[in-house]
Subunit: 255 residues, 2 copies
Amino acid sequence: MSYELFYWPGLQGRGEFVRLALEEAGADYVDVARMPPAGNGAEPDPEGTDSGMAAMMSILQSDTEPHVPFAPPFLRDGATIVPQTANILLYLGPRLGLVPDNEASRYWVHGLQLTIADVVTEAHDTHHPIASSLYYEEQRDPAKERAGDFIANRIPKFMNYFERVLGQNPAGPRHLAGDALTYADLSMFQLIDGLRYAFPRAMKGFAKRYPKLAVLHGAVRERPRIAAYLASPRRVAHNESCIFRHYPELDQPSG
Amino acid sequence: MSYELFYWPGLQGRGEFVRLALEEAGADYVDVARMPPAGNGAEPDPEGTDSGMAAMMSILQSDTEPHVPFAPPFLRDGATIVPQTANILLYLGPRLGLVPDNEASRYWVHGLQLTIADVVTEAHDTHHPIASSLYYEEQRDPAKERAGDFIANRIPKFMNYFERVLGQNPAGPRHLAGDALTYADLSMFQLIDGLRYAFPRAMKGFAKRYPKLAVLHGAVRERPRIAAYLASPRRVAHNESCIFRHYPELDQPSG
């Protein structure tokens, strides 16, 4: 039985952290909102399909489903529904071989993932500091202030931390945890990738300031399954519907 | 061996979600930053002690600890360090008997906890929409806008969702998940309690709009161990160093 991922079509968003794990593992999965009607022979559509969206909305709007998610992404595995990005990765980690096989490490990797999730939320709020219900253009001035603080203070604070985690990993700086790839490494790649798209000026010199993170980012990008995925039509390009948006007026050199 | 909770003293903050679970279970725990120097016979100090703070900072600033947390709260259980509030509750849940004994329910409860954590972050950002490095007074105008949206749109969206979760629980509306108390119920109590403190005008009529959540809030408050805890000096009062801050100018009637 395939894993079923439910997420908004047309953007990478939080769903992308889950996709990268499924793709790296070569897992059998369906990106439900992109699926053509069963049996009509069409290809999945990264922009979404009416039938796929209807399948997702019927769960979100169900008035009987006991485990009804607040929002996408969520995963369905048989009868089990798992909401929230980091929770999905917690669930998939052992099944996909993307966490070490001991309990302490699993909580550690999940803690790292939750800290990555915190950065993702802050990256979103650079363009929506006032209200997600308003357009960016309606909150451009506070967005400039928040993005300025994000670049000056928050990116360095988080990236210094993650660089330190790599440096303090007893198994070496190639991975955030242990001596093999985990879902947190994949998510760190995606975080850096998104920040580079959104804030190219701020991220200039990133590799010099955070050499271990830069090596990690490059190593994930070159993994055969990740490279194949990134080159495939399944990888939607970064765009301004997403968390990581490139608005030149929000970007500025760091430090 | 006691659980060791590490969190900033002098406020409820994110540590409070962990304290409520430990208190409800009657667990043996130490709130490290509040502890007097060993053996001097003094009582724990909710405002923090130099020795307790030093113990916490030595972990946060360690350049050798492999599992170094980004920020408090974190838990230490013997040799295991667990960072991030929701992750700590994930870890403690089965140990304290605060989650059902099946895998699907545990991911469900954790997903609820992560959604509660999202509301907590949004509640924080009502008074700090631009930068956590600036004072509230430096971002009061955008704070008014963000708080207005939080009251008009976000509290209703989240609370309608949680009310619906209670209504769709096959075991009945007394708990968010299953037929017994979980850590998510305790955290929901704390979330509602914090919102009532910060936004008394917005929360007026809460019990009418969200009757099941109001019953849950009252039932948790009256549990014997929770009631004893809330009346004890260990429960620091709500205050304006915390996530939930009462600034009258940010509060307004809902709807």
